[in-house]
């Protein structure tokens, strides 16, 4: 198991900076996901750790020793590539045995190791198959086995599930977690898929423009986004510019286009600051009438006009216009027999609690 530290890692391609001073500590046994859009530098970060790229400045430490300038074959770090990169002219056995053979392990040792790995990835008996004869999911498993047999300190995974269909992807997420637990290896995982990141990680590092926007547990990143980018990227939110009016206990009052709204308290903001209010689409509800006494008392109840109602299987998305002309989207989860009670053109109310209105800095 390995402990990985990135210390102020920077890299440019030509004149374009792609990594801007990344620093992070990844503890033994963690499953850390680098989450971001394509081009944010997440794959480059991974390649710097693998040794396939060299960082321009800063340092990369593995268990306290610098590996920044070592060639990839001298690092005890292995990668599962995005397209799996299985050697097409070797069968499953030879693919997995490639690393041990290079280390001149004994034949018996290799045989045992490969069998063990095939058990781990649940593919026993397929040693003789060529990569061309395997399904996408099977190739994925072979790629993992080929990396893990070398007992790497760190396992790097570059969008390994990207090429699989949705059902298989969800299945492989669980499988991967299971394999990680069994092998007890530190994983650094790269993806642009927030569901994958939220499902699998012990911590998520949200990347944007070559820098970490926020590093934290899935709950932290999802519930307490610290920047407008994270608020917008993780989950589906309504994000609108507001100005801060003042604090009231746990609640911060803000003004959204003339409407006063109670939001989750934020000590960093002062009265008069401009900020952004972020509300998850599925944490707000739509009410056909103003709630009478006895019902749940929402902190914010805003009159609105329904613009469109879109049914999409497990939920229905309702788009409404607030008084000031701002569009707000609410996602309602569907249950059999109870369809949404609003329709286009209706007057209704949007309601959410102060705690669901997260304030992030304006930039």
């Amino acid at each position: 198991m390995g402990h990985l530290s990135l210390v102020n890692v920077s890299k440019s391609f030509g004149k374009t900076p792609v990594l801007k001073g990344l620093s992070m500590d990844i503890r033994s046994g963690e499953f850390v996901t680098l989450l971001g859009e394509s081009g944010c530098g997440k794959t480059t970060t991974l390649r710097c750790v693998a040794g396939l790229e060299t960082a321009d400045s800063g340092d990369i430490l593995l268990n306290g020793e610098s590996i920044k300038d070592l060639p990839p074959d001298k690092r005890n770090v292995n990668t599962v590539f995005q397209n799996y990169a299985l050697f097409p002219h070797m069968n499953v056995y030879d693919n997995i045995a490639y690393g041990p053979k290079l280390r001149r392990a004994s034949k018996n040792e290799i045989k045992r190791g490969v069998a063990e790995m095939l058990d781990l990835v649940k593919m026993p008996g397929l040693e003789k198959r060529m990569p061309g004869q395997l399904s996408g999911g099977q190739r994925q498993r072979v790629a993992i086995a080929r990396a893990l047999i070398n007992k790497p300190q760190i396992l790097l995974l570059d969008e390994p599930l990207g090429a699989l269909d949705m059902k298989l992807r969800q299945h492989m997420q669980l499988e991967l977690k299971h394999i990680q637990a069994q092998a007890g290896v530190t994983c650094v995982y790269v993806t642009h898929d927030q569901d994958e990141a939220l499902n699998m990680s012990t911590r998520i590092a949200v990347m944007n423009g070559g820098a970490f926007e926020q590093v934290g547990t899935p709950q932290e990143v999802y519930e307490q986004p610290r920047t407008a980018f994270v608020a917008g990227f993780v989950g589906e939110r309504n994000i609108h510019p507001v100005s801060v009016e003042g604090h009231n206990g746990d609640v911060t009052n803000v003004i959204l286009d003339g409407i006063r709204i109670k939001a989750r308290g934020s000590a960093l903001l002062k009265a008069g600051d401009s900020a952004r209010l972020a509300v998850h689409t599925d944490r707000a509800v739509i009410l056909p009438q103003a709630p009478g006494p006895g019902g749940h008392l929402y902190d914010n109840i805003l009159p609105c006009v329904v613009q469109s109602v879109n049914y999409s299987g497990h939920r229905t998305k309702i788009s409404v216009l607030l008084n000031g002309g701002i569009t707000f989207i609410i996602a309602e989860y569907n249950q059999s027999g109870s369809n949404t009670t609003v329709s286009d053109g209706m007057n209704a109310y949007v309601a959410f609690d102060a705690n669901e209105g997260v304030l992030v800095s304006a930039v």
Binding site: A50, P71, D73, N78, A85, P88, G132
Partner: protein, 264 residues
């Protein structure tokens, strides 16, 4: 149905002259088209003709060296070009393609004049130099096409799993491009064995190849020994090309298996 008849007719036409040569190599009649009976005399006559045998050996010697040098150069060129910067790579490939379509006679004339100004003695060396020159582009192109199958991530994966750069090349790139190198070898061999135009310009008195010998005999008139010898040459080529098809068919079935797996 009409389509199949058309295909069959063209194929028959393609093979007609070859078939005629083979059939007439067994014809007892010394001249003309009349069939007068089966004989193997022409084969033994050809086998006894020392000059024919000499030129056959000369052809094989030149083809052998040509094949080896072309494969090494062409493969290194293709692998090297793949590592070049895009601009340089484009220029290099363009140069190879242009060399490929220069009319044979002009390449032959240019080489002849070049050797002459350098005062090189015409012989096996000038022949091998010239043959290699028209074979290298073929090997280069075949290997270059095959190299596209070597995804850069394969090499990265090999390095990641602990292979040094040369080991990664030897264990990943080389086996994948091997069929293309083999095809290139066979094509070089076939082209060297077949060439008349360039050979007859740059050869010396001691380096007369079989096609050159056949050509000069043909200009004097048809003799049945040529039939016999040509038949032998045709069978050698059949075997070379058969081998080539075998190599490529293996690759095709590999591709087909991949396609199937993807569809499954």
């Amino acid at each position: 149905m009409g389509k199949r008849i058309y295909i069959f007719m063209i194929m028959a036409l393609l093979y007609l002259p070859v078939a005629i040569v083979i059939i007439y190599s067994f014809n007892a009649s010394k001249s003309g088209a009349v069939w007068t009976g089966f004989t193997l005399d022409w084969y033994s006559a050809a086998a006894r003709d020392g000059r024919l045998i000499d030129s056959l050996l000369m052809s094989l010697e030149i083809a052998f060296f040509t094949c080896i040098i072309s494969c090494v150069l062409g493969t290194m060129g293709a692998v090297g070009a793949a590592r070049m910067r895009p601009r340089a790579k484009q220029a290099a490939s363009l140069f190879m393609y242009i060399s490929l379509i220069i009319p044979e006679i002009i390449l032959g004339v240019a080489l002849l004049m070049f050797f002459s100004v350098l005062n090189v003695r015409y012989g096996v060396m000038t022949m091998v130099l010239s043959h290699t020159t028209f074979c290298v582009p073929y090997v280069f192109i075949m290997v270059s096409i095959r190299l596209r199958a070597v995804d850069p991530s394969f090499i990265e994966a090999a390095r990641d799993l602990g292979a040094k750069p040369f080991k990664a090349f030897a264990s990943i790139t080389l086996p994948i491009i091997m069929p293309a190198i083999a095809s290139g070898a066979l094509i070089s061999m076939a082209m060297s064995l077949d060439d008349v135009v360039i050979s007859s310009l740059v050869s010396g008195p001691q380096s007369v190849t079989l096609p050159m010998r056949i050509y000069s005999m043909l200009r004097l008139g048809v003799t049945p020994e040529i039939n016999a010898l040509s038949t032998v040459l045709v069978f050698v080529m059949f075997m070379l090309v058969g081998l080539l098809q075998f190599v490529q068919a293996g690759r095709r079935s590999e591709r087909a298996a991949k396609k199937e797996a993807r569809n499954a």
